[in-house]
């Protein structure tokens, strides 16, 4: 038990360091960005003194190091500052949009795993037969699809041709279907392949042969002995794949005009509103770091060998 606690504590410390390092990185990138947000915002007719006054109001006249600590201090009090282009509190903006992004990624994750694990198991059991080949080829093609084009194709079929699902935007739960599928299907390939190869590996283990030799029912062996062990790496992958999924959500949200953080990030980037961009990258990084730590903890608990590294 002791080593589990030590292992988790170590992961937490590293997690905090990573977050701090990322804040420096984000801040440096935003500082190096060309163009001054205040100059972009105000009219050219506004006098230089007035511009200086606005800059002082935002704290933009202070040296970057001071600005950084000022920003960091505010973040830890839950204040991401005021958006320069939308003139709204960024914490509120993010809070409005975070649920939509989480809803989208959550739905995509559910679809992805509900499809990928049974299909991976099926392909492994029918190794080298037609089912396996067909599934392998389908997933390779899906894996090679840009999510935005898949989204466009789904839109054309279900919203324009058949007219059964809404084209874009958010109008209740039904709007979730197409974006979630768009996000889930390309990502599914990775989990499918992992499940398939892990199941094949586990099926070669001696305890599986023993289970069969004892005369245990085929289905019971597959679920109790094979799947249970094969799913350890798949569970870890669940948490590790989240950053990619969130990154994908940014693109997919822009295809479907989904009112999540990805769209807000996009607006922030187009308007060079670094307050928004900083805030969103920070929130996403925190989410990712938490997921990584959970993933590491779970793999440490499930597989004691990892703890000793």
């Amino acid at each position: 038990m002791n080593d589990i606690i030590r292992y988790i504590a170590k992961r937490l410390v590293i997690g905090v360091l990573v977050v701090l390092f990322v804040t420096v990185l984000i801040f440096a990138i935003m500082q190096a960005m060309p163009g001054d947000p205040v100059d972009l915002m105000v009219d050219t007719r506004v006098s230089a003194e007035k511009v200086m006054e606005i800059k002082a109001q935002w704290g933009l006249d202070k040296p970057p190091v001071v600005q950084y600590f000022y920003w960091l201090g505010n973040i830890f009090q839950g204040d991401f500052g005021t958006s320069i282009s939308l003139k709204q509190n960024v914490t509120d903006l993010i809070a409005q949009r975070l649920p939509y992004t989480l809803m989208l990624t959550g739905a995509a994750l559910i679809i992805e795993y509900l499809l990928a694990i049974p299909l991976g198991l099926l392909a492994a059991v029918r190794k080298n037969r037609l089912t396996d080949k067909a599934l392998t080829i389908t997933t390779v093609v899906l894996w090679s699809m840009p999510p935005f084009w898949l989204g466009v194709l789904l839109m054309m079929i279900f919203s324009i041709k058949l007219n059964v699902l809404p084209l874009s935007g958010y109008s209740g739960f039904i709007s979730l279907i197409l974006p979630a599928l768009t996000l889930a299907l390309p990502a599914l390939a990775q989990i499918f392949r992992l499940t398939r190869s892990e199941v094949l590996d586990v099926m070669d283990e001696k305890y599986v042969t023993t289970a069969y030799a004892k005369g245990i029912d085929n289905r019971k062996v597959l679920i109790k002995h094979v799947l249970r062990n094969a799913l350890i790496p798949v569970t870890v992958m669940f948490f590790l794949s989240l950053p990619w999924l969130i990154g994908g959500a940014v693109v997919v949200e822009n295809v479907f005009a989904w009112p999540g953080m990805g769209q807000l990030l996009w607006k922030g980037i187009a308007k060079q509103d670094f307050v928004i961009v900083q805030g969103i990258i920070f929130v996403i990084t925190i989410l990712t770091v938490i997921c990584n730590i959970i993933g590491d903890m779970i793999s440490g608990i499930l597989d004691p060998r990892i703890r000793l590294e």
């Binding site: 990573v18 990138i29 080298n128 080949k133 090679s144 840009p146 935005f148 084009w149 466009v152 990712t288």
Partner: protein, 276 residues
């Protein structure tokens, strides 16, 4: 035995299909001006025209030939992808060798940087970098490289750690060879197949990232024919002119699928046990 053979043929088949797709793309890149009926920027009065013999994939809102734009676009996609992979291979392999070979504090620092870059979703970090450096194809290549070298480092590092203890490398140390010469003469040659596999598999994802960035408006600017950008421009006409999005979409799938199959084949040939 028969099962193994069957599997081998299946893999070979995928490899063959991958190679065909790949060589087709290379031919298109080289002979783009001969294949394309128009230039990528040539405008005509036929706006949003449906596919016909003159314009095989129709025209966009400026009356430009979609087919020609997609053909020329292969040059952007491929060059950005290849440049990105070369840069990320250089960064990733160097850091992986240094971390694996020297170990201790250097290893810890490299590992920390690797973990950190892995905690920001790559496409978002790449967006921020392009934003900082300005939107151009060249900067997209750099940004993609900066966010995706970590995979190389992790795998190369593990490989070097196991190589380091081989007797002939320890012997070389005792003979007083410098670290640099040990790395170049004994370690690097052992990494060649791993690097080839990683680089071939990194190329399709670099191309996908390039088109994603183009889709979001980052990268080569109009009238340059970026596949992602052609597609995102087409979305607003999805009801009246759905063909605009077809050609670039098919081109991306064709290219990425070809490289994915090729990469899998190369991996199967050189080192089937490598976990990527």
């Amino acid at each position: 035995m028969r099962k193994e053979k069957l599997r081998f043929i299946l893999n070979n088949k995928m490899f063959i299909i991958g190679s065909i797709l790949f060589f087709a793309v290379v031919l298109v890149v080289i002979f783009a001006p001969l294949i394309a009926p128009h230039t990528y920027a040539e405008q005509s009065s036929m706006r949003l025209a449906a596919p016909c013999s003159e314009y095989p994939f129709g025209t966009d809102q400026y009356g430009r030939c979609i087919f020609s734009r997609v053909i020329y676009g292969s040059r952007i996609a491929l060059s950005v992808g290849i440049v990105a992979v070369i840069i990320e291979t250089l960064i990733g392999v160097t850091l992986g060798i240094v971390a694996g070979y020297y170990g201790k504090a250097i290893d810890k620092i490299v590992l920390f940087i690797t973990d950190t870059t892995w905690s920001i979703p790559p496409i978002i970090l790449a967006m921020a970098i392009v934003l900082m450096m300005g939107s151009s194809a060249q900067n997209v290549a750099i940004a993609i490289a900066v966010v995706s070298w970590a995979q190389f480092t992790k795998i190369v590092r593990a490989k070097v750690q196991s190589l380091k203890n081989l007797s002939y490398i320890e012997a070389a140390k005792i003979y007083g060879e410098t670290d640099l010469s040990i790395i170049l003469r004994y370690i690097l040659p052992n990494l060649v197949s791993t690097i080839i596999i990683l680089a071939t598999l990194a190329l399709p994802s670099a191309i996908l990232s390039t088109t994603s960035m183009g889709f979001l408006g980052l990268g080569a600017q109009q009238p340059q024919p970026d596949w992602g950008m052609i597609l995102s421009d087409g979305i607003q006409f999805i009801k009246n002119a759905p063909w605009i999005t077809m050609a670039p979409g098919l081109a991306i799938v064709w290219t990425v699928l070809g490289f994915n199959l090729l990469g899998e084949g190369v991996k199967e040939m050189l080192d089937p046990r490598l976990k990527v």
